[in-house]
Symmetry: D2
Subunit: 155 residues, 4 copies
């Protein structure tokens, strides 16, 4: 059962799949998940995508002095998730450049897209200067590239 | 001083301006505001834009059974905000349709854009069916329309 | 490995043990987990303690009209957790009364207590009237009682 | 009107009074404020108590290398707050020691206690060693001491 597949998710058909459970903390008085909280789910999944391949962001910072910062994101809220829902975040890498990477993420329930998220991340040194993505990270990201998918901005 | 202008913000040059202070809860281990939290600031400002004109969302729900749901949002993270920063959220209405509205928001520090947010909101009845925007709400939103600005999708 | 034991945790020596990973969203500009966020971890664990035995809180609400509300909580922050830490929440039931239950929770890293949490929960009907704890829930809670431990208030 | 008294709150009868508005982000699917979020309100108020007297925590860190960490907290949840509520956090200092301070906070709506919070804060140097509270901070805290109130632990 994917929801029990472990804390770092798994690689499935070129996508990283990460289970997320909806708790009270994630919901709001409308009875549904608060819109900004889906971006937390998406960030957890991106973190686990790296961790699944042995890359730990806090080690990246302490040993190489680099971190990823979100430069741009977009979200389409298609259907609302609710308390106790077992969601999955599917993450694919769209494009890798020297110091940035684009990903497409879909937050699904029972295989149905609930929220689609696009992000552009910049690799930063000291939190303020762009920096080349370290080679081992680049190698991991390449596993999640789906060459059939277009870039976020159509290129 | 804008940061002390009161909890519902103010109307300034066709934009709603709402002060937000950055607390520890908003920041992350990178020393900056966590990316999803800017969307909380943006939602607070949209709520206060309505409240400034006497429209209270919980009354909208209890009396008219309607609420706004975010359908789409995008964010450009230009500069990072930090602990104790005094920010301002500037909100303009781009386009009002029968059951939806588009807004452009800029989160600024000392007049400089830090994060730009675009949102499309749908007016919903019972949290699941599209509903016409009530006339008094529409009247308020019209005060924040800047006719010189283009729609989010260029129309 | 406990951190991968699945999303509902496990029963271990009369305690419910639930793994929690620390993400950026949980940390603050001090580089450590923000104090209120440990209470989110504790609530996730309490939810999974019930789910592990097949009790789903959203079903409790929809079918029986009851929910648990936190009446009191206390927390001792012994050591700070950091980004990427793999934590475990250990939960024991201290005392079960007709319409309330007391639990003791410890958030650990590598077996060391980081934060100790005590909570008193009230079973509520319609979110506002005390209600007897349903028998199946009571039966589950009894599995986590450690009769050697004292109640939170020493009784 | 207290809710509009400005972002740093005010001194009223030996207590610091700080207005907080409840937004969607603060609520959960139970229709009420999520229990951990009251601790965010309490922390905002403690921050503004210092700021009202010109003490900025990020300056404390950068210039003196000290910060306050929560060592202990307790909360009694008396009545639930809801979306759009205008709350006030009333903060008093109970006891000041060399490197720590105890405060009692009450989160009120229309003068009625909703949640009562007690906290013990430690002054830390470099986030890990206890440090004497700087004299200017101690002087500010003394303004909020109510000598008629007992310490949290009855001393």
């Amino acid at each position: 059962m994917p929801a029990n597949s472990g804390s770092s998710g798994m690689l499935e058909d070129n996508a990283h799949v990460f289970p997320v459970r909806v708790y009270y903390e994630d919901t709001d008085a409308g009875g549904i998940v608060y819109y900004a909280n889906y971006l937390k789910f998406a960030e957890r999944a991106r973190t686990e995508l790296l961790r699944l391949s042995g890359i730990n962001q806090s080690v990246l910072i302490s040993e190489q002095g680099v971190a990823f910062a979100v430069r741009q994101c977009s979200a389409d809220f298609l259907k609302p998730a609710r308390l106790d829902d077992a969601l999955e975040v599917h993450t694919r890498v769209l494009q890798i450049r020297g110091a940035s990477v684009e990903m497409a993420q879909s937050i699904k329930r029972d295989g149905v897209d609930m929220v689609k998220v696009g992000v552009k991340l910049a690799c930063m040194s000291g939190f303020d200067r762009p920096s080349r993505i370290p080679a081992p990270v680049r190698a991991v990201l390449l596993n999640f590239v789906n060459r059939k998918m277009a870039s976020l901005d159509g290129t």
